[in-house]
């Protein structure tokens, strides 16, 4: 296959994965959230279960006028959604759905994924600053403070995983989770990291990624009851849709990273290597959606924190816990 064809296929696969995942998660948010509130949710769009609601929403957004507020920093304002979306798409490049189904398996995959996903912070700050709106500005600054605070526990949690696996490649980490954790006679049982010492790390990762995604209980950058809509207040039309898409695609990518790091990725305990070859994507995607469900579930249950409480949670609880987690993991690694 020539380079160009391969590139096209890979780009399409990454975009398809992102869009498909995001649309499913958006639909799940609408439907699961509705039923958790004892409502029906989408019902008419597309037929029986309102499955076409995300598409209908996207179409509606496209029809709207793309407004740029008077006095906004035009170029920055228009660029911001792209930056946000790019930071999210970038993560999908290194996600392995099965041992062979991966766009690009980088040696520093975990590092790359965390680095590129923090690009969204920049986009959010750009949006908040350029909108020429006080609510947007506060939202943007909140987002910056929050994402800086939570990038740290997120990375530190992954450091522990990297120590345990001995690699930074995402495929490598998943493969390391296939190594037998213990044996019952002849049978070697491999367990994902969440069950072999990284439970605290997983909790930290989930909490920090909730904050990274600015979802309830950490949705202060948007906080519609305080800041109307935070940094997206002024956005309309397709640019708003891009923020919207980035949020849900980010949810998929964060769930995917957590799956890879803690839930064994495409592995399932007791499944042979050949079966993983075939069933890998299915297993991986189901785990991703399971985690996304957790995110949705939390959102429809909890109120939001206050900005200072969020900061103290990060600096006083999560980061020390993550450091402790690294120390314990490293000790075990050296001792055993």
């Amino acid at each position: 296959m020539s380079f160009a064809v391969l590139l096209t296929v890979k780009v399409l696969a990454v975009l398809g994965l992102m869009l498909g995942g995001a649309l499913v998660v958006i639909y799940a948010e609408l439907k699961v959230g509705a039923h958790m509130q004892n409502r029906i949710g989408p019902y008419f769009a597309g037929g029986r279960f309102g499955w076409a609601q995300p598409f209908a929403d996207a179409l509606k957004f496209m029809q709207k006028e793309d407004l740029v507020p008077d006095g906004a920093d035009d170029r920055v304002y228009k660029l911001a959604p792209y930056v946000v979306l790019m930071g999210t798409i970038g993560v999908f490049v290194v996600l392995p759905l099965s041992p062979r189904f991966v766009a690009r398996d980088l040696d520093l995959g975990a590092f790359y994924a965390l680095a590129i996903s923090s690009l969204t912070t920049l986009g959010v700050l750009m949006a908040g600053w350029s909108s020429n709106n006080k609510y947007s500005l506060i939202g943007g600054l909140r987002a910056a403070a929050q994402l800086i605070a939570y990038e740290l526990p997120l990375v530190l949690a992954v450091v522990a995983v990297a120590i345990q696996a001995g690699t930074l490649s995402i495929s490598g980490i998943i493969e390391a989770q296939a190594a037998p954790a213990f044996s019952i006679g002849e049978l070697n049982v491999a367990l994902p990291y969440i069950l072999t010492g990284q439970i605290i790390g997983f909790a930290i990762f989930v909490v920090a990624s909730l904050a990274e995604l600015s979802r309830i209980p950490f949705d202060m950058p948007i906080a519609e009851s305080e800041l109307t809509m935070g940094f997206v207040t002024e956005y309309s039309s397709i640019r708003f849709a891009m923020f919207f898409l980035a949020e849900y695609a980010g949810m998929v990518s964060m769930s995917a990273l957590a799956t890879a790091f803690y839930l064994g990725g495409y592995q399932l305990p007791g499944l042979s290597a050949t079966a993983v070859e075939v069933l890998g994507p299915v297993i991986f995607i189901s785990k991703v959606f399971l985690l996304s469900f957790l995110f949705i579930w939390l959102r429809w249950t909890l109120p939001r924190f206050r900005e200072d409480q969020l900061q103290s949670l990060a600096w006083r609880w999560l980061i020390p816990a993550a450091l402790l987690n690294i120390a314990i993991t490293a000790t075990f690694k050296v001792v055993f």
């Binding site: 039923h35 958790m36 409502r39 909890l302």
Partner: protein
């Protein structure tokens, strides 16, 4: 920070999550509106019906209305006696009876003060219009509503 004196940390959050999870599998009380219609109670003040035969255009309702949204015009009509030499009767004839439902507060005072039972409440509620001026229901439209007047509900024993 959150005070977690109840032993198990984050007990409240898990309890809340349990409630939402249970609700997820419960049936919803939603009424699928345009397909299934909800029937309000008999006393619901939906729209006012007019019995033109009973109305004597005495104007009591128009006068008692708190925001004066009832417009009545009428004239006297002479009824010639059947037999020659009989008395000539006069009868009030209603020319115009409009209720502006854009202005109406649905208080029901007009229904209450009507001494001849010409006005009735009906629980019908589907009469929204694209133009606000179309909410001015004239005599004919108000008479149409008369068919929907429900029988009064039975009363609780006192």
């Amino acid at each position: 920070m959150a005070s977690t004196k109840l032993g198990f940390p984050l007990k409240g959050i898990f309890k809340g999550m349990g409630i939402t999870l249970v609700t997820l599998f419960k049936p919803t009380p939603t009424v699928n509106y345009p397909v299934v219609k909800e029937r309000p109670t008999e006393r619901a003040r939906g729209v006012i019906a007019l019995d033109t035969d009973a109305c004597t255009s005495c104007m009591l309702c128009a006068r008692e209305c708190p925001d004066w949204c009832i417009y009545i015009e009428g004239h006297k009509e002479e009824i010639q006696p059947d037999k020659p030499g009989g008395r000539v009767k006069t009868r009030a004839k209603l020319d115009r009876f409009d209720i502006d439902f854009a202005l109406c507060m649905y208080c029901g005072i007009c229904v209450e003060v009507c001494p001849f039972d010409a006005l009735f409440w009906t629980p019908e509620y589907e009469y929204s219009e694209h133009k606000i001026s179309d909410l001015l229901h004239d005599k004919d439209k108000l008479t149409e509503w008369l068919a929907t007047v429900p029988t009064p509900p039975a009363l609780e024993a006192s």
